[in-house]
C-alpha cells in the first residue's frame, strides 16, 4: 500500500484485525447494498461475540443471517429484524441480544458517530419503550430523548464504484446506510464492483470522500432480491 492507495488484494487482508467481541457497523437495507463478501469473510474467520449494527439482519442463508448458525453475533442493533428463522429462534431463547432502534435514529447514530458528535436529542421514541433509561429534555414545548451515537471497531460497506484512493460512488437505493457506516468505523472496509484510477471519477459526483476509507477491495456480487415485484410488460413482443 502506498500513499492514498487503499486497494487490498484479498478478503483476508480486508478484514485483518477483526477479533472476538468487536463492534461492526454494516451498510445495507434488507439485502440491498449489503457488503455480502465482507460478511462471508467474517463467517470464514469465525469471529465470535460480535456486536453488529445494521438496519436488518439478513435472511437465513444470505447477508448477516449467515453469521447466526455459529453464534458469531452476540448482540444486534437494528430497526427491523426477524426475516430469518434462526434469528427468531436465538432471540426467543435469549441467545441473541437485540436492541431495536428506530431507523432514522440508527442512521443518525452512525452519522453523528462519524462526525464526532457523542449524542443528540431526537423526538423519535419519546414516550415509547425506546426512551427507557434515556435522558429527556424539552425544547420549545416538545419532548426529546438523548440518543448516544455509535462508532464501530470496523465498518463494512458496499459501494458501486471507487477510485484507488477510496473515493466512493453508490448506485440507486443500494446507497442507504452505506455512506453513514463508512464514516463511523475505526477501520472502514469497502467492497466495490469497479475500481478506477484516481482522477477518473468526477470530484463533484463523489458520495463518500476517500478520507473515510481504510481498505478497498473489488469483487463480484450476487445481489439477491428479497421481494421480486413486477408489473406486466407492456412492450412484450408478440
Amino acid at each position: 500500500m502506498a500513499g492514498f492507495d487503499k486497494v487490498v488484494s484479498s478478503y483476508e487482508e480486508a478484514m485483518a484485525g477483526l477479533t472476538d467481541g468487536m463492534t461492526v457497523i454494516a451498510g445495507g437495507f434488507g439485502l440491498c447494498g449489503i457488503p455480502e463478501n465482507l460478511i462471508a469473510e467474517i463467517k470464514r474467520k469465525n469471529t465470535k461475540g460480535l456486536t453488529l449494527v445494521s438496519n436488518n439482519c439478513g435472511v437465513d442463508d444470505f447477508g448477516l443471517g449467515i453469521l447466526l448458525p455459529e453464534r458469531q453475533i452476540k448482540k444486534i442493533v437494528a430497526s427491523y429484524v426477524g426475516e430469518n428463522a434462526e434469528f427468531e429462534r436465538q432471540m426467543m431463547n435469549g441467545e441473541l441480544e437485540v436492541e431495536l432502534t428506530p431507523q432514522g435514529t440508527l442512521a443518525e447514530k452512525m452519522r453523528a458517530g462519524g462526525a464526532g458528535i457523542p449524542a443528540f436529542y431526537t423526538a423519535t421514541g419519546y414516550g415509547t419503550p425506546v426512551a427507557k433509561g434515556k435522558e429527556e429534555r424539552e425544547f420549545n414545548g416538545r419532548h426529546y430523548i438523548l440518543e448516544p451515537s455509535i462508532i464501530g471497531d470496523f465498518a463494512i460497506v458496499k459501494a458501486w464504484k471507487a477510485d484507488r484512493y477510496g473515493n466512493l460512488v453508490f448506485r440507486k437505493t443500494a446507497r442507504n446506510f452505506n455512506p453513514l457506516a463508512a464514516t463511523a468505523g475505526k477501520i472502514t472496509v469497502v467492497e466495490v464492483e469497479e475500481i478506477v484510477e484516481p482522477g477518473d471519477l468526477d470530484p463533484d459526483q463523489i458520495h463518500t470522500p476517500g478520507i473515510y476509507v481504510n481498505r478497498l477491495i473489488k469483487s463480484t456480487f450476487e445481489k439477491r432480491i428479497e421481494q421480486r415485484t413486477t408489473r406486466p410488460s407492456a412492450t412484450a413482443s408478440a
Partner: protein, 218 residues
C-alpha cells in the same frame, strides 16, 4: 358495509393534494398510490432513500439496487432523487414530508399510537415508524376499526407499547373517518351503509358524534 382494503386506500387518496410529498407505509397505505387523482401530482418518499418512487418494474427492468422500504423492487419516477438514510430521515424528522400514511394496532383519544410490538409475540421492530410519527404533522392512520373478535382498536388508552405519543390526529378505519382532538375522537364520516350505532359500539374511547355524519363518497 365495512370498507375493503382498496376502499380505505381510495378514501385516503382523497386527502392527497397537488405537489404533496407523501410517505406510504407497508400494507393498506401502499395501495393509496393506485388512487392518486389524475389531475394532481404527488411524489412518494421511500425511507430507504428514494424520493419519487415509480411503479413496479417489468421483468426486464428489475434492478436489485432499486427497492422500496418494503424491500420490493420498484422503479423511479421522472424527477426522482436518491440519498442516504440519514438524509432520508432528515426529511421525515424535519417535517418536510407533507403526508404520512401508516398502519397501527391501536390508537387512543390522546393521539397515542401502538403499531410495532405485541409483548409475547415475535417483535420484528419499528423500522421507520417511530421517526415518521414523531416527525410528521399530517398523519393518517389506516386500520380496521376492531379486531376480528369485535375488540375496539380506538381506545381510551393504548394497551400495547407505543410507537409515538400524542402524534395522531386522523384515523381512517374500515367503518369511519375519525379525527382526534382535545382528548376525544370525533366522528367525521362513516363508511357507506355503516350506521353511527355500529361505530359507537366498536369505539371504546370517548366518541363525539356531530348532528350530521355524512357517508364517505368513494
Amino acid at each position: 358495509m365495512a370498507l375493503s382494503r382498496e376502499q380505505i386506500a381510495q378514501r385516503v387518496a382523497q386527502e392527497l393534494k397537488d405537489g404533496y410529498y407523501v410517505n406510504l407505509g407497508i400494507g393498506i397505505p401502499t395501495l393509496v398510490a393506485n388512487y392518486v387523482p389524475a389531475d394532481i401530482e404527488v411524489m412518494l418518499q421511500s425511507e430507504n432513500g428514494l424520493l419519487g418512487m415509480g411503479q413496479f418494474p417489468t421483468e426486464e427492468e428489475i434492478d436489485a439496487d432499486l427497492i422500496n422500504a418494503g424491500k420490493q423492487t420498484v422503479t423511479m419516477a421522472t424527477g426522482a432523487s436518491i440519498f442516504d438514510s440519514a438524509e432520508s430521515f432528515a426529511m421525515i424528522r424535519g417535517g418536510h414530508v407533507d403526508l404520512t400514511v401508516l398502519g397501527a394496532f391501536e390508537v387512543d383519544v390522546n393521539g397515542n399510537i401502538a403499531s410495532y410490538m405485541i409483548p409475547g409475540k415475535l417483535i420484528k421492530g419499528m423500522g421507520g415508524a417511530m421517526d415518521l410519527v414523531a416527525g410528521a404533522d399530517n398523519i393518517i392512520v389506516t386500520m380496521t376499526h376492531a379486531s376480528k373478535h369485535g375488540v375496539s382498536k380506538l381506545l381510551t388508552n393504548c394497551s400495547l407499547p407505543l410507537t409515538g405519543k400524542g402524534c395522531i390526529k386522523k384515523v381512517l378505519t374500515d367503518l369511519a373517518f375519525i379525527e382526534i382532538k382535545n382528548g376525544k375522537f370525533y366522528l367525521i364520516e362513516r363508511a357507506p351503509g355503516v350506521t353511527v350505532e355500529e361505530i359507537i359500539k366498536l369505539t371504546e374511547g370517548e366518541l363525539v358524534i356531530p348532528a350530521d355524519v355524512p357517508e364517505m363518497q368513494l
